[in-house]
């Protein structure tokens, strides 16, 4: 029996049908007031502003002239935009895919009880909870230059040193691998929680019926974690596309803009080129992209729930 999980309306309390005909109660509105005010100031007002900026040719000092869709047209004609779109896509794709698989594998590993499991579970969350900058410092030491540990190990196998941060292709690999390393604990934690909630009697019954491990995994485990998996995947896609820190701290978007995702592009246009209109346009497009992606995935999830 699949667990019902729906991001859109988390109605988990017992049904309270008697509230439907109640008189207007101001309390819920009041409770939300402060939160709404904050959200308005910090997100809604900038959003409107941002949309407006994207239709102008302004700088950080002045608003500039109205250009209608000019900025968007320039983006659609700009190789930098497609480059960052492409990198954002592969960054998110590989991150979600590999961190999910890794997270699932480790969750399955940590599901059965064994001594020291609690310790392992916590220790494996470290990549996620440590500040991004610390992660980058550590990885940088491992992969920078030919003295880095990774190259030393490669050298002992006779392979040449790889200058990860100095070659476009390898820099992309490095950024993605580090992101996966930082992301998988989150997947692992949620999947582990979902695994532990599955009723063990299902497995008992299956074993009695002669099912093997693989069949049990496929027919019992997977359907039970399907919903949480989709939710985590959505969240992880959003976080991946919005990730500024990982590429910025490691490569500043280089070399030659190879690791520049949409957020870094927006940053460069705004602060490097002093073109607030272009920077805002990129950000708006990113938001639209995320909304489309989330809607598609949530529909998928609602269908299967």
């Amino acid at each position: 029996m699949p667990l019902k999980v729906d991001l859109r309306s988390r109605a988990a309390s017992p049904a309270v049908t008697q509230t439907i005909n109640q008189p207007f109660r101001p309390l819920p509105y009041v409770l939300l007031l402060a939160s709404l005010a904050f959200i308005f100031i910090i997100e809604f007002y900038p959003f409107i502003n941002g949309v407006s900026f994207s239709f102008h040719k302004g700088s950080l000092l002045s608003t500039g002239a109205f250009v209608g869709l000019g900025n968007y047209l320039r983006l659609f004609n700009s190789p930098s935009f497609y480059n960052s779109l492409w990198f954002s896509f592969i960054f998110a794709f590989f991150n979600v895919l590999v961190s999910y698989v890794l997270g699932l594998a480790l969750a399955l590993f940590l599901d059965p009880d064994f001594p020291g499991r609690g310790f392992c579970r916590v220790a494996l969350l470290v990549p996620w909870i440590v500040p991004a900058v610390v992660s980058i410092v550590s990885w940088k030491w491992l992969i920078a230059d030919k003295g880095g540990l990774v190259n030393v190990i490669l050298g002992s196998f006779g392979a040449g040193p790889i200058y990860f941060l100095s070659q476009s292709g390898w820099a992309m690999v490095a950024v993605i691998v580090i992101k996966i390393w930082r992301s998988f604990p989150f997947m692992m934690l949620s999947l582990l929680a979902a695994l532990q909630v599955i009723d063990k009697t299902y497995y008992e019954a299956a074993r009695i019926d002669g099912a093997n491990r693989w069949q049990m995994f496929w027919r019992i485990t997977l359907p039970h974690i399907k919903n949480i998996s989709i939710i985590q995947a959505i969240l992880m896609i959003i976080w991946s596309i919005n990730d500024f820190e990982t590429p910025f701290l490691l490569t500043q978007g280089g070399p030659s803009n190879a690791t520049e995702n949409l957020i870094l592009l927006s940053y460069r246009y705004t602060f490097g080129r002093n073109d607030v209109g272009l920077g805002s346009a990129v950000a708006i497009l990113t938001l639209i992209l995320l909304m489309v992606l989330s809607t598609i995935m949530m529909r998928q999830q609602a269908k299967s729930a």
Partner: protein, 218 residues
Amino acid sequence: MINNGGGLFTKERTLDLGSDRNLEALGFLADLVKNQDVYPASAGYSGEDAVSAFSQGKGALFLSNPGLSNRLPKIADKFGLVQPLVGPHGDKGTIFWVNNIMLYKQGKHPAETKFFLEWWSEHEKDLWTKGHNTQLPVRKSFAADPYFQGDPETKFILDNYVPVAKTTATLATEIFPKLNDVEGEGALQSLSQSLLQGKDVNSSVKTAADRLKSVLED
């Protein structure tokens, strides 16, 4: 590019990244890379990495701002300045930036601000003589001061490099506001990273030129 008599712009301030002199200079760099005379990791290097490599004796020539002996006191006696390099066509050149003092249009007291600016520019020598700023003064009258003439390194730079130094606006003679965006956009940095990775000169230059054109169109 500047050393070879080229520059980003023509005299009329039109973008001219693909000029003959520029391509010659960039081609020279690309050939060094092809010849494996360039350290493979340099595409990922920052300025700090370059200083560090030089100070560890891993680099032979280093292009730096004035004051390098102050930054690397321990090895200051091990390096010195060379004469400005002469390009294949006999050109000398190096790059410099001017630190401008800016007055804002929105200011409320334009006349007073301008008056102060004039006074300040005539009296700011203390920034160096007392404040020990490592940049160079613009005024020749300042530069004649023993504070500068007495330091061999600074005197050498003033005598040999400043006369041939040019801004990023070259071949145009005056700097203009858009230069800020041009430099901040990072196109040249990406260009050098591409060349240091051994990518094709012409396509890298074209990419950079397109980006710069886009910045200038704003």
